[in-house]
Symmetry: C2
Subunit: 416 residues, 2 copies
């Protein structure tokens, strides 16, 4: 078989320019999250296929890269279906593995446990521009903290990180599953229809209020319900304080505690934030995953239509592994989108070391090379980046290339 | 299906203590290698199965985790064998992917290209203590540098890194495939038998010279050849300068240039080294992989029987992808073994930030939480690590646990 030079379909090789930015951003993320007391952990990239197919991954479960059984376990002759052939799968997110990890190790972990994960995930999506089948996720999660202290710390940690990377004028949109439900209940939708209604609501930023209303009518919901529902969103948008207006309007349908908690989060985040962003109550925010049980949030960048990350509270997932629920809240940075935005904006990494190239003429005697190398070692020990290379015939071109790589100084060593 | 709490068989969850050391070591590796002008790159964790099964991976090709085809490409009914079911595989090393990467991107990369890769690889080995089926590799490679400048820089970069992590009194053992061959030729072995002879020679450190001689005789080689062969190793060991003695003894069978280059490497490394180690000529060093074409080297730690990394020159592998050979030399640190040694020696990470925990009494009013969070934010901005948590009923126990995590200061916030 001929060897293939391209990476596998839908995945990419990372070139030096991008890699430098990725490493830098990862180090800012790691340092900032650590300052908030988050602890890096790691799980294997493969999970038991049963864990990945347990309905916790939503649509992602259709996109699993599955791993063939090996040795005696693989029984090609008697295999009836895919399920007989595979035992592991590549993880499609870091959330299911985190809950398994916590379920497995809770006795050895602090409570609450503040986890930081940076790792690749895989989804066998149809390849498309700017979207890859292997990509990095950066998640922070707090397990075992039922109060909104979790939400406050997650939002502050994430926004402080984004600010340190250099982002500003972005929005953190926040909503609550219980507000979503109260609005649907108030409008007269049946509880069994909530999820379907939210799927339509989720299209608000694409098709607008009219589009949402049209789709709901088309799906057979009562016109009065749809009108009343849409009026709520108009009301929130028009009000000085949308959340307060909504609380007033919904009355007993929405628990006071939900509103008070949202207000506390807003107050604390606004008082302590270390980046330029707005925390915005957005009653149209849905977030796809059905596992969310409380607050949900999303990062919106002015430079980028669509989400640059998000998260929320999911108090029931650890319980799926252990039978005992653990209140959990997480926030995920859309790492690949962040990198894309930085690449497109010509981002320069701050505080680079001095970069010097030593050019050694062909035929330079081996016994004198010792001194050149020793000189390079001293400069390196002093924090400099030193490249020792043979001088090319076309020295001018070589230097131009090296300048593009960031080498600003050249020392030339000639044989005579 | 019931959910599984354990990681998949043979792979491991990484706990916070180990993760902190791994992150620290990775940052030292990255910073040090960068100071030598190595450029981080990354390839996807999956490769086309044809690339992984092209006889470049030796025994590792038997250990591939294979990825099931998806969608229409998967034809269960007509599949005759494994090969019909899979299209991708998990990489078992970083060397084959690097050569594919270089073949694909050489026009966009500097020449020589100094690559740094840190990434996971997967091998479906029988699980055993301390050996996992997913593990990290850290490789540096120089592509396009035919001279021993590559070997010198690789050995200096690797040893400087190990020294910075805190290792000392280790050995870098070095040999040359051409010396291995010359010794076999001089002893009268047939060229077709070299590889088989080297497999036996590779057991020297386990079964000793007598064991090697015995096995060679048993395999049917002439007693005179075996005796002469073993006498060479005795001679090298007894000589003041083993390499010089060998060169003298082998005479024309060994090219002068090989010896001169090895001497230059030794001289430069010894003159410029920044760590406490010995560079030792070891004529018994074989290194398993058949792709090596020149120098080969290995790290030996006094604390650890067996290799903690190694590498060598492999001038032919890129040519398998492009039809045009590119001189290439690489050095891989045995990352997992390094981490194991550090964990076992009670390694402490230097220069940790100050770690403070804020303990907040239950019932602490939400409106005052704002000030606590703001205070935490200021300390974090000043470089401190601040954990904000609810105070447990058993505060004494909570503080003891936090002290184990490295929190040295506590600030307590009471509701009254």
């Amino acid at each position: 078989m001929a060897l293939k030079k391209k990476p596998v379909n839908g995945m990419k090789d990372i070139m030096p320019d991008e890699m430098a930015i990725r490493d830098y951003v990862q180090s800012v993320i790691r340092d900032t999250y650590r300052s908030f007391g988050f602890t890096p952990i790691e799980t294997p990239c493969m999970e038991d296929i049963a864990n990945l197919s347990s309905k916790q991954g939503g649509e992602n479960e259709k996109l699993i890269f599955k791993v063939l059984k090996r040795g005696e376990k693989l029984k090609l002759d008697t295999a009836q279906s895919e399920a007989d052939l595979v035992d592991f799968g590549m993880r499609y997110d870091l959330t299911v593995p985190l809950c398994r990890y916590y379920a497995n190790h809770a006795n050895d972990l602090p409570s609450p446990f503040k986890a930081l994960q940076m790792g690749n995930v895989w989804r066998a999506d149809r390849p498309q521009r700017g979207r890859y089948r292997q990509f990095m996720q950066c998640d922070i999660d707090i397990l075992g903290e039922p109060s909104n202290l979790a939400e406050i710390e997650l939002i502050l940690a994430t926004t402080t990180t984004l600010g340190r990377i250099g982002f500003k004028n972005f929005e953190i949109r926040i909503n609550e599953r219980r507000i979503l439900k109260a609005m649907a209940a108030y409008s007269g939708f049946a509880e069994a229809d909530y999820d379907a209604v939210f799927i339509t609501l989720d299209k608000m930023d694409k098709i607008g209020p009219d589009g949402v209303a049209e789709e709901l009518i088309r799906d057979g919901y009562a016109k009065e319900s749809v009108d009343q529902y849409l009026a709520l969103f108009t009301g929130v948008a028009a009000a000085q304080d949308g959340l307060a207006w909504l609380a007033d309007t919904l009355g007993d349908v929405l628990e006071d505690e939900v509103v008070r908690s949202m207000q506390e989060i807003a107050k604390a985040v606004n008082a302590a934030k270390m980046a330029q962003f707005e925390l915005v109550f957005d009653p149209t925010l849905v977030r796809g995953m059905s596992y969310y049980t409380g607050t949900i949030f999303e990062i919106a960048m002015p430079e980028f239509g669509g989400s640059c990350g998000g998260g929320g509270r999911y108090d029931k997932m650890v319980g799926n592994f252990t039978g005992r629920d653990v209140p959990t809240c997480g926030f995920s940075i859309g790492f690949e989108r962040i990198i894309l935005l930085l690449m497109e904006s010509g981002f320069q990494i701050p505080e680079q070391p001095k970069k010097t190239a030593y050019l050694i003429e062909k035929g330079f005697p081996g016994e004198r090379l010792v001194d050149v190398i020793a000189q390079a070692q001293e400069a390196r020990a002093a924090g400099e980046q030193v490249l020792v290379v043979r001088m090319n015939k076309n020295k001018k071109f070589q230097k131009e290339q090296l300048e593009k790589e960031g080498y600003g100084e050249f020392v030339e060593f000639y044989k005579n």
